[in-house]
Symmetry: C2
Subunit: 207 residues, 2 copies
């Protein structure tokens, strides 16, 4: 029984759970409370499964030694897959971006996860990202194409520009994902930067 910031006094174990849930990204105090009360009346087996999944993920999941993607062995399943094209690497900020691109089924090469983007305000410089590891992977000359798939924001642009300046002199084909109107979106509601990019990147149509 403790006094909380909101003046709430919950019984100990409930408040502990609300506190722990409230530390998760995107879970505010209200959601944490809602989830905690849901779990209070949930089947104990379900709650146990969630607790087990949490422990399991920390015990079994690691990051791929080669690309930095999530893995359950020294290398991730994409790096281990012999059917993937060894000549192309798609560079992304986070491991979850790998999944997003995999979902498109557009890319059959391998990945490299930087672990973030250059962000001077947050104190993240090139040395804090897995850029040295990327350069090591390019050393043997097998890779001929690098696709820069950073987020379309200031930090992503900065990182892509930095990498392009590093990689272009190496004679690699370097590309950046297209910016433009989201498919299914509404031109009227597009922000001016996105619309500007869509204009800039317009494609000629032929009859």
């Amino acid at each position: 029984m403790r006094a909380r910031t909101l003046g709430v006094v919950y019984e100990g174990a409930v408040q502990d759970l609300i506190d722990e849930l409230g530390r998760l990204p995107g879970v505010g105090p209200k959601s944490a409370q809602r989830i905690a009360f849901h779990l209070l009346s949930a089947d104990p087996a379900d709650v146990r499964r969630l607790a087990d999944a949490l422990i399991e993920v920390k015990e079994r999941v690691r990051f791929c030694d080669t690309c930095g993607n999530v893995a359950q062995a020294e290398q991730c399943r994409i790096c281990l897959d012999p059917r993937r094209t060894p000549t192309a690497i798609c560079v992304v900020e986070e491991a979850k971006d790998v999944v997003a691109i995999e979902r498109t089924r557009e890319f059959r090469g391998r990945y490299h996860v930087l672990g973030g983007a250059i962000n001077p305000i947050a104190g993240v410089g090139p040395d804090d990202l897995r850029i040295a590891q990327l350069l090591r992977r390019l050393a043997d000359g097998v890779v001929t194409e690098v696709i820069l798939a950073m987020d379309p924001n200031v930090e992503g642009e900065a990182t892509a520009t930095y990498l392009a300046r590093l990689l272009l002199p190496m004679g690699l084909t370097v590309s950046r994902l297209a910016s433009g109107l989201p498919v299914g979106g509404d031109l009227e509601y597009a922000d001016e930067v996105t619309l500007g990019r869509a204009f800039e990147g317009r494609r000629l149509l032929s009859a």
Copy 2:
């Protein structure tokens, strides 16, 4: 490694965690993924604490035999507190409503948690709520006032009406929380039902 609805293929343990997180109320597939990736790079001790809090809450927390609020003993701390007025009971739908009302510091009596509201569509009738337990608490004549603090929606209204018809013939003072404009809200944005209630419940001012 399993194919998912979204066509996602994550390594086993990560997907298991995403699945379990996605079952929580208000956590969609995107949030579940975001939380899972946050936990992947989080301090193992933090993740362990969350897992422990989950297990702890199921092992230690129960519902108060008297009022149905969350408790860590047979009775909750409010029912056990001798300083609470024994003559007034505030009836709420859920245990989390107790905390919301406690936060106002307006009420010094005790509570009764119904465990929901009458909802014919969802098949919840009076017998599914803790109404018989409420009537038993009123039997000895100590309680003289009952405040009905159901949610201001159709199910809450139905439940309050049902309870009022049950309790008024017993000679109790029965009241319902006021409906009206939320404090700090904007009249212009109030829906017509709320505004109608605010009109209906208007108070005479004196000089």
